[in-house]
Symmetry: C2
Subunit: 501 residues, 2 copies
């Protein structure tokens, strides 16, 4: 095999992975958007076969030889930077994947399909017991897979590493402890001050008008209809078939317009990241955001740092008055700004304000750590959840629907994902520090001009796709090491101002 032949085979391998990923994404998107209700069995059958084929693309001796050959060339410095990185990541995928027996891999994919269905039904019925047997199996698989991913790590560390390379329980324990130390007193201080006005945020807003708002906001963000579509699902998410075909979803509630608005901005942030990856990575292993933490740093940057800023809400305000004249009647821009930043212990993570958000994440982190560590039984999840919500946030969880069944992550097998939401917030606050030195961020945002923000992020983050690991990528953008005080200081400054602390 010549080097050129091997590189050609590499591209063919990546293209095949792209095609299977496209197919399975399409089926999954259909499942949560328009598929009829009782169709999971037939879909599961198809997904089972497709995952088996997908598994075989990577985990077969011929691919193993190809990647071993190319990895040697890489180490000798004979590959261009892009192909070197493709080989590095694929070799890693191969090593991990080939440790997972095929029947386990396929059975797991089928389980996830069934579990998604079971989770929806359990959530509707607010009955954890309906989901429990699925979660039992998903946890067991994750513990087993953690051993395949990295047998030398503690299982939960191995899983964390899948979502954020380098994240560990040791690092996160310290990070979350620091956050708690800063956030809890800050939250307490805001509770002792006069509360901000929020009566109008639950006023009814017609859903067709909310859909119009989504399109308007996507337009502001530069997410044109030629390459980005929006759908409606239980739980909002972003899916990219490729950088030129990105889908976001949201969920409209008549009495919670602000909720869908910020979910669209959040998912729009994910979409911008995918849209911004350089064309040269199209259809390759590098053609997507590099990690969940970095991805969340982009989505939460748009949602919170930009979206919930006084500059942006002020710019948006006249549009809201135009679309929802009754809901906005007698509301000032400043009242709107404060309302969407109201700090309040609550039940639902996706609805949480910036200040309490990381406390919601900590609940999940604690539970995952213990589930995967084997110190918590699945059947005890609801009780533990409810206890931790009381302890961290001071709220009583009334039922599973508003408790441990609220998120789709566990039914999707994503253990180790949650911490990246909080890390993403911290990454983003540190990016803001640098961005503010480079140009007049708030002056542009106040004009509704988000292009310079996106351009700045594209230049430093988006364009590279998976070319660099998260740490060097972010350190280059920050001009230094990770520093969570950027996040805590950002929160302190923002909430001191809002609550006049």
């Amino acid at each position: 095999m010549t080097l050129n032949e091997a590189l050609e085979k590499l591209k063919a391998l990546e293209l095949k992975q792209y095609a299977f990923n496209f197919a399975m994404s399409s089926i999954s998107l259909d499942a949560v958007t328009v598929a009829p209700k009782d169709t999971a069995p037939g879909r599961g059958k198809a997904l089972g076969i497709l995952s088996e084929e997908d598994y075989k693309i990577l985990a077969n001796p011929e691919t193993g030889e190809l990647l071993a050959f190319l990895d040697e060339e890489r180490k000798k410095g004979n590959l261009p930077a892009q192909e070197a990185r493709e080989v590095e990541l694929l070799k890693r995928d191969y090593d991990q994947m080939s440790r997972i027996p095929m029947d386990e891999y396929v059975a797991y994919q089928v389980l996830l399909n069934d579990a998604d269905d079971a989770w929806h039904k359990a959530k509707d019925a607010s009955d954890f017991a309906m989901f429990e047997p699925y979660l039992e199996k998903i946890v067991a698989y994750n513990i087993k897979f953690a051993g395949y991913y990295d047998p030398e790590k503690a299982p939960y560390d191995a899983l964390l590493n899948e979502f954020e390379r380098g994240a560990t329980m040791e690092m996160l324990d310290a990070y979350f402890a620091e956050l708690r130390n800063e956030i809890v007193p800050l939250l307490k201080a805001t509770r002792e001050k006069p509360q901000v006005r929020c009566d109008f945020t639950s006023r009814p807003c017609a859903i067709p008008k909310q859909r119009e708002l989504s399109e308007y906001v996507m337009g502001l963000m530069g997410l044109g209809k030629d390459h980005v579509a929006i759908g409606e699902t239980e739980h909002p998410f972003t899916l990219h078939f490729n950088k030129n075909d990105v889908r976001i979803t949201t969920h409209y509630f008549e009495n919670a317009m602000v909720s869908s608005m910020f979910s669209v901005i959040h998912e729009g942030g994910h979409a911008l990241y995918e849209r911004g990856v350089d064309d040269c990575y199209l259809y390759t292993r590098l053609a997507s955001g590099v990690s969940m933490g970095v991805h969340e740093s982009q989505s939460r940057f748009y949602e919170n740092i930009v979206g919930r800023s006084r500059a942006f809400t002020g710019f948006l305000f006249p549009k809201l008055v135009e679309l929802f004249p009754e809901a906005m009647e007698g509301v000032t821009p400043e009242e709107f700004y404060k309302a969407v930043n109201m700090a309040e212990p609550s039940l639902i993570r996706t609805e949480a304000d910036e200040l309490t958000y990381s406390l919601h994440v900590m609940v999940r982190y604690e539970i995952e750590k213990q589930l995967i560590g084997g110190t918590l039984a699945v059947k005890d999840v609801p009780a533990t959840w409810n206890r931790l919500y009381k302890e961290y946030l001071g709220v009583d969880v009334p039922d599973d629907k508003h408790g441990c069944l609220q998120d789709s992550h566990w039914s999707g097998g994503a253990f180790g994902y949650f911490p990246s939401y909080s890390l993403g917030s911290a990454y983003g606050a540190q990016l803001l520090r640098v961005m503010e030195k480079d140009f007049d961020v708030w002056g542009e945002v106040a004009k509704g001009n988000l292009a310079p923000v996106t351009e700045w992020l594209r230049e430093r983050i988006h364009r590279y796709g998976c070319l660099y690991n998260p740490t060097p990528l972010m350190e280059q953008a920050w001009g230094g090491k990770f520093d969570p005080t950027a996040y805590t200081e950002y929160l302190k400054q923002k909430y001191t101002d809002i609550y006049d602390l």
Copy 2:
């Protein structure tokens, strides 16, 4: 290889085909329902790879050996009826497919993906020239593929045979000549009589209310939301992932409520056929309707024979008044019945009445016959189309959008499909003859009770899937040979009554 081993491999082969078909259907459905506009290239890339893999499932030496072995066993009478038929059809697929070189097969799939996009754009712009280069290539591929399907047949006969086993140009020339002889004078006679009232059919009907009507009609037809969903596309169609997961689509126009209503009933007829196939055929080669002609016999039976009957329109009338009080103001049930059956030469096939419908089909049949026969150049399609519309229907075609770009079939490569619409109508009329002897069809339909009709059809047609070829299947249901006079007599009787001839 023991027989049991071979039968296990057969089931695995069918399951794999099912999964790939599921994947490609999902991608295609997404493409025409919710995908952003400029996403064809990335989708084409994925579909190209998937069709290549799908091709390899069937067209490889190992499958060839398996099917040859099983086909021998079939001929010896060693297979149960179901498996014998599965092998017979798969062997036929294999023989055809393995004659198509893989690169041609894949290139054709990619071409169809691009052509669909080009057709949409050309139709929007009403500019055949934008679609012409794609159609050139599609015609060339179809001529070549016809030779692979059956090198002994004339190319267009080979293509016809793919949609309706046994159909030939000789048979269709005679069939269409007979229809023309009966329909043209009948149409002429109706034109000489006072015309039926139709002013109200273009009155505006709010699209959300039309969506409600679709759901109501689907409910009447027994198409529950657990297994059937409805979407919106340029051109209505039915797609089944499996018998428990069926999708239909329609297109709403504010000023043409009746149009979407009948398209839903039409596609609902297709859906009922798929829903009615016996469970034992699930995930096998037999798990779908047997041919396009038989499929259209079901959809057109519901759309026209049932849907456009005095009994059904009379039953539906109060619901229409409830949903569209303004549009239905001052209209009697009898006027509504006559309006939806108004015979009038027109431009658009899918909007055509029962009487003129087959004339629209004949235009397409003539053009296809000549394109595939090599006696008509693609560039001359618009002129020929317009000439034949003038000749058969007496209408002037104003532009390509209302002319040769109106249907999606050619962009989808479906040459030989159109005649099955007309054959389906004739098949259906002959079924009605028998059904009327068995029970009081119109008494039940007048009560909105379609279940006995569906039950009757399920018992005789739906349940068998692909177990029998179209001819024996239909002959058994008819209790005799195909007799087009059932169709012409049905039309004569219906239109003599409506126009008081």
